[in-house]
C-alpha cells in the first residue's frame, strides 16, 4: 500500500517537472529515482561528503539533507544541466584538461560547488576556493588538480592577494 504522497513541482536544469513524493524522500532520491538524473551521487546520506551537492535557487546544498517536498517551487541545477548545446561548460572542460577527475564519484558534487563559487565570486583566492570545496570529499585526486582547474576557470584577472603561483609541478597553494 503506497503511503499518501505529496505533489511536487519544480524546475530541474531548466525543465519543469511535476510529480509526487513521500514526505520523507530526500531531494537526492527524488532526482535519482523519480527524475532519472543519476549524475548526483549519494556518498554518506548525512551531508558530510558533498557528493550530493546540487544548486537550489542559486545556492549549493547537500541534497541528501533536503526533502523533495522542500524543493517544491524551486529551481534545481544538477551536473547534467551544465552541458549547454552539447558543449562542456568551461569548468567541466577545465576539469578534463587538468586531470581533476579520477574515479569521478565526487565529481558531480564538486563541479556544482565549484560552479556556484565562480558564479558568486568570479575571482576567488586560493583560500576561497578551498573553503568553497572543503565540504566535498575526494579520495582519489588529492585536490590539487581540482583546485588548478577551478583556478584556471576563474576569470583571468590575478587574485586579490597577488600571490605568485608557479604553474609547474610544485604549485604552491597560498593561504593566510
Amino acid at each position: 500500500m503506497r503511503e499518501k504522497e505529496l505533489p511536487i513541482k519544480l524546475v530541474v536544469n531548466g525543465v519543469p517537472w511535476e510529480g509526487t513524493a513521500p514526505a520523507e524522500m530526500t531531494l537526492l532520491r527524488l532526482l535519482r529515482e523519480r527524475i532519472a538524473l543519476t549524475g548526483t551521487k549519494e556518498g554518506c546520506g548525512i551531508g558530510e561528503c558533498g557528493a550530493c551537492t546540487v544548486i537550489v535557487d542559486g545556492r549549493p546544498v547537500p541534497s541528501c539533507l533536503m526533502l523533495a517536498v522542500e524543493a517544491d517551487g524551486c529551481q534545481v541545477r544538477t551536473v547534467e544541466g551544465e552541458v549547454r548545446d552539447g558543449e562542456l561548460s568551461p569548468l567541466q572542460q577545465a576539469f578534463v584538461e587538468h586531470h581533476a577527475v579520477q574515479c569521478g564519484y565526487c565529481t558531480p558534487g564538486m563541479l556544482m560547488s565549484a560552479q556556484a563559487l565562480l558564479e558568486r565570486n568570479p575571482h576567488p583566492s586560493d583560500e576561497e576556493i578551498l573553503e568553497a570545496i572543503a565540504g566535498n570529499l575526494c579520495r582519489c585526486t588529492g585536490y590539487a588538480a581540482i583546485v588548478a582547474a577551478i583556478r584556471a576557470c576563474a576569470d583571468g584577472a590575478p587574485p586579490p592577494t597577488g600571490a605568485q603561483r608557479p604553474e609547474t609541478n610544485g604549485e604552491e597553494v597560498s593561504r593566510d
Partner: protein, 273 residues
Amino acid sequence: MTAPQYERPNTIDGVVSLLAENSGDAALLAGGTDLLAQMRSRLVRPGLLVDVKGVEELRRLEQTDAGLSIGAAVILNRILEEQDRPELAALVQAVGELASYPIRNRATLVGNVTNASPCADTVPPLCAMGASVELQGPRGSRRIPVVEYITGNRETRRAADEVATQVTVPPLSRGTWSGFRKRKRVRGHDLALASVALLRDPERRRLRLAVGSCTPQPCLVELDDMYDRPDVDEANRRVQDGIHPIDDVRASIEYRRDMVEVMIRRLFVEMRG
C-alpha cells in the same frame, strides 16, 4: 511502519496549532540538517514534519531596537553575507566555521541553538553576547536567555507545543570586541572538540567567556570583575572549574581542558590587540 506527514503553514499560529494537535509526535523542520540525519538512522520517527520556512516573518534577519533578530528560517550563510558589524565578530567567526558552505545554505542558527548539541558552535558566542531565544506557543510567547534555554545534552526549555521563532542578540556597545576559536581534528568540516568565545563590552564594562563542547549545558563565565585588569590565569581557572569535558572518540579530557586554556590565552592576546 508509517511514513511521516508534512505540513508547511504560513503563520506562526499555524505552526503552534500543529504542534499542539500532534504533541510529542511532531518535529519542527527548518534547515533539516540535524533532523534528516536522525531520521535516516531511524533515531527519530516523527509522525508529522512541520516546515517553518513558509512563515514569512521567520525568514527575517534584521537589526531592530531590540538588537539583531535572527528568524528561525534564516540560513547560516545569510548571517555571513549580511552581517559585518565588528561587534558580532565572534558569532560571525563561529558561523563561518560551522560545517561546510553547502550545509550552511540549509542549516539555521535557531536550529543550531534549539537542537542543543553540546558541540553547537553558535552557542558560546550567543551566550557571551547575552542572546536570547523567543518561543511562541498556545500560552503566548516568552523569551529565555540562550544560556538558560539549553538545559542539557539536546534538552531545552521548549515545550513540545512551542516553536523557537527567533534568536535575538541584544544591542552591543560600540567598540565591543569579540572573538571565537574552535578546535577540530581536520582543517575542513568538523564538530568542535572544544570551543571558546570571548567578549569585551567597553561601555557596560563586561568581560564574558563561554566554552562549548565541554559541558552538557552552556558554560558562561562572567569576568566583569577583572574588566580593568584581565587576568588570563584567573579566567582560565574559573573556566576549568566550570567545565566537565569527557573522554570520547573525538578527544580526551586532558586535551580538551588544555586546548580550552590555549584558546583562552590566544583570545586574550587577540583582544589586547
